[in-house]
Symmetry: C2
Subunit: 566 residues, 2 copies
């Protein structure tokens, strides 16, 4: 940072910090009559919403929450969760969005690690709580969230299954709380949210974001999604429904944007395919985001064709894992607008979203599909680079590979109380994503591999995923896995495992000859051709079904011996 | 500000400041092929523009500009000015946008007061420079801006009329400068721009804005103009042409927004009605902002009807003075979309822009016109209040009057080296606008008067403008002026001057009876009725044609005596 001349300030002059309450204030200003809907159970407008957020602030104060304290939420996607996004943070407390998909032991770890003081928990998760409650070290108060109060099956003050040591039920507490609360000003670098990300080794890592970071993330989305119409999203006519959990990186930050724009919002609670489809149609949802699995489930549903007309107004941002061309095509044929995005827990999350420029919008649908399945174009305000092992930048030429590193206004500044892994994340002043990619001169990001799986051979980086894709095109190959193994001369060399289709008897020489022909036609770099090709009955997978390259590498020698002796 | 818990930061973690270069970077990212046009003389795309901004940075460095130095520009609206908006500020220097409409003596004052070190001046303003050059105390270098280099009437290196002590001509200097420049990071509170505002008394006052403030002003416009579609402006299809000088409050901040959105931009140079109209048509301009006088000039032009089809895509934001219903109607009938905005030099400037919500968009055109001529709805992120003389807030009920005071992320934090007037501006921690208004519960701002002209009687505020409007509806009244004069019982009481239409012989009693009838019908508060009504041959005016209420108040006694004895 160079020295410059700062603006002088008159003693009484004010310049407000960028806080989440600033976004909240917008929701009342222009279109306060628009609605926030929860399943088929509850609806309110933004006047109600703002009142409820203030009531929540009073409930939190009564339950002992002070600025700097942490409030944990365990809930499905709901209007209550949205109220916590704004209410918990705007009193100066920290919102811990607990990942309810973790094991009870991991949840216990995260809740103790985060120093959760007050816990808001949906009744569906009480069994988890029962299992860990005696070991929670910092919690002082519990509040239960129940849908029964909306169904009329019980009155809010007589919920039968509130554990006796709970402060009460959310709706009842809100109803009894004052509706005025003057949200204070404070430093915009105040800690606003926290959640945990799991890796293959070690304890979950806590990432965290400030008010300023979430404000700026909202401005980034606004610039891109609304300004450049990357999706596009219009507060004036769009209806938003998240289908990515709110505990997962703030539902990609869209609830903050949708609230600032006072857009109609629909929160689907626990994801049930039939209800999701019903809400999509009856509430006229136009914008969502989800992982490919959810999109696939909806697109494959027998009901989809019936609702073609309704689906044709639906725009879906896909992230979490790669959008395949097949799924993109199927969705597009139903009239759905799909686009990919790229980010991670550490990046709040948006770092790239697909955007078709004027020339690309004129392309035939098939050509557009290829673009829509790319990871995206670099987001506004994000400074993304590709870096090689020596810390040098790799050119954005569309083919050179490097690890994606980034700087930007909304990246976690470390892992909570985990200085070593935090220092690794920010080594050299750039956030290291662990993803290997190429970037085109016009800012398209094409993910190639994870850094730990990319094969570094003779100064070149070989994408194991690309090589698997090439092998999948060889006649008779059912599945393959490519890993790098140490090599005295080249550093590393690729090695492949292949599962054959029934009825085929492939040979190493035959497959290599096939690949060599591609090399001679200029379709493949010669250093991509694996040194060794082994035929196996199945590829080792992790518990979530991903190819277990770590295990393959570590067991490669045994595996080779095993296969050779079989 | 309450104490909260700030996010912890890993040693090497980075979080970039909000700088004007951040906006500039967006212009290259998605649609770099879009054009920036200067009159019928010059056009380039955003790739050229970004290169030229960097060449300018190198020229500035060569001319001795260091961070913290001030660079003055005297130019019409041009692509060069836009390059200075980004280039001067991004090297850490301060851009002084000199108001070329001030008298040479005032220009001299502002240039010395601002410590201008390097001056970029259009050849049209050389006569002004000649008059003041010997008295400029801080200027070290001059660069000339000439349109002749674009017309082919001369080559850029042989401009005949460059004064010999000038560094050179802008285009020639750019062409010879390196096209690489790495804009540094620095504190976002770095001083970016400065300009001077004149009042009825004292020297011009210097207002100033930081990088952060201009970034946030851009985000405010983005939220409102593009997000809420207050105008609406779409980077993807809109073409922007300012018709408010760039030296006047950054052309209302739109050049920053348009550049960030890589929208096509058209800069008209010196305002010439025929060229403006020609550019509007041939460049397919869709968005502008101007004062009512300019809109009136274009709407009244005989050519307007001929270009109805072209004008129907034109959206115009009106500010500077009130948009009358008559002008709004005439423009609307030509298919032009008009909307009012409100702000001042001290506020960067936007504090309110008209926005029709869902219900109002459904109103008949005539009802919409009334809304479109209001000062606007409070802008995103601006905290606007009405304050009485005791510093208490006045309710936003649509009729109670108070002085508009504000806080927000882009308000000048004082007047440069003028602590007394700066302290007055920010008295009590709110920026005092000197405007009296009412605000409706749904955030419409209706300007009533200037604070110095509002009449404070028995605890009530009477708008002199409203009372003049009532008088104008009395048969036989050609013009009127209402001022407050001291009153022992009520503090102040309204007094009126009236100019009669030819052929009428109005009496005080007759006019008062007319007003009393309105009071009895509930159309007028009784305390609005002037204590004294005087008939005069003409109303005293200032040199720019405004009613001179200061003079009327101070001379009221003499005037009364003079009239009575006549």
């Amino acid at each position: 940072m160079i020295q410059t001349r700062l603006i002088p300030r008159t003693a009484e002059a004010q310049e407000p910090p960028m806080l989440i309450k600033t976004l909240l204030a917008q929701s009342l200003r222009y279109e306060p009559q628009r609605e926030i809907v929860y399943r088929n159970l509850f609806r309110m407008n933004y006047v109600d919403f703002n009142r409820r957020v203030r009531q929540l602030a009073n409930v939190l104060a009564d339950s002992g929450v002070a600025p700097g304290d942490t409030v944990a939420v365990l809930d499905w996607d709901s209007h209550r969760y949205l109220e916590c996004f704004f209410g918990v943070t705007s009193v100066g407390a920290i919102l811990h969005t607990v990942n309810v998909r973790l094991s009870p032991a991991q949840i216990l770890f995260t809740m103790n690690h985060a120093n959760d003081k007050v816990v808001l928990i949906h009744e569906d998760f009480l069994p988890i709580l029962t299992a860990i409650k005696s070991q929670l070290t910092t919690v002082e108060n519990y509040i239960i969230l129940s849908d029964k109060v909306y169904t009329g099956s019980t009155t809010i003050n007589r919920l039968s299954d509130i554990p006796t040591d709970f402060l009460g039920e959310y709706e009842a507490l809100l109803t009894n709380a004052p509706s005025e609360y003057d949200f204070p000003d404070f430093d915009e670098n105040t800690w606003a949210t926290s959640f945990y990300t799991t890796g293959t080794t070690g304890n979950p890592k806590g990432v965290y974001f400030s008010h300023r970071q979430l404000f700026m993330h909202t401005m980034g989305l606004l610039t891109y999604i609304i300004g450049y119409e990357a999706m596009p999203f219009r507060g004036s006519s769009d209806v938003y429904m998240p289908i990515t959990p709110m505990f997962h990186v703030h539902a990609w930050g869209f609830p903050f944007l949708a609230t600032m724009m006072s857009a109609k919002q629909v929160y689907p609670g626990r994801y049930e395919p039939e209800l999701l489809l019903k809400l999509l149609i009856t509430e006229e949802v136009t914008l969502s985001h989800c992982v490919p699995t959810i999109l696939n489930m909806l697109v494959s549903s027998p009901a989809a064709e019936k609702y073609r007309e309704n689906l044709s107004r639906w725009k879906v941002l896909i992230g979490g894992s790669a959008l395949t061309k097949g799924l993109a095509k199927a969705a597009t044929e139903l009239g759905i607008t799909v686009m990919s995005g790229y980010g991670m827990s550490e990046t709040a999350p948006v770092m790239a979203v697909g955007y078709l420029n004027e020339q690309e919008k004129a392309l035939p649908t098939a050509d557009q599909l290829e673009l829509r399945t790319r990871a995206g174009r670099i987001s506004p305000f994000i400074d993304m680079r590709l870096m090689d092992d020596d810390g040098n930048f790799v050119p954005h030429d569309g083919h050179s590979l490097g690890e994606i590193v980034a700087r930007g206004p909304w990246l976690t500044q470390g892992y909570y109380e985990d200085p070593e892994r935090g220092a690794d994340l920010w080594k050299g002043g750039w956030l290291h994503t662990g993803d290997v990619a190429s970037v085109t001169p016009d800012n398209w990001v094409i993910i190639a591999d994870r850094t730990k799986d990319v094969i570094k051979t003779g100064g070149e980086w070989v994408s194991s995923l690309d090589m698997e894709d090439v092998l999948s095109q060889v006649d008779g190959v059912a599945e393959s896995a490519v890993v790098g193994l140490p090599d005295d001369r080249w550093g590393e060399r690729p090695h492949a495992l292949i599962v054959q289709k029934p009825g085929y008897t492939l040979t190493t020489e035959g497959v290599k000859a096939n690949l060599q022909a591609k090399v001679e036609r200029g379709e493949l770099h010669k250093w991509y051709v694996p040194d060794r090709i082994l035929f196996v009955p199945e590829i080792p997978k992790t518990s979530v079904g991903k190819i277990d390259k770590k295990r393959i590498r570590s067991e490669m020698k045994d595996l080779i011996l095993g296969v050779q002796s079989a």
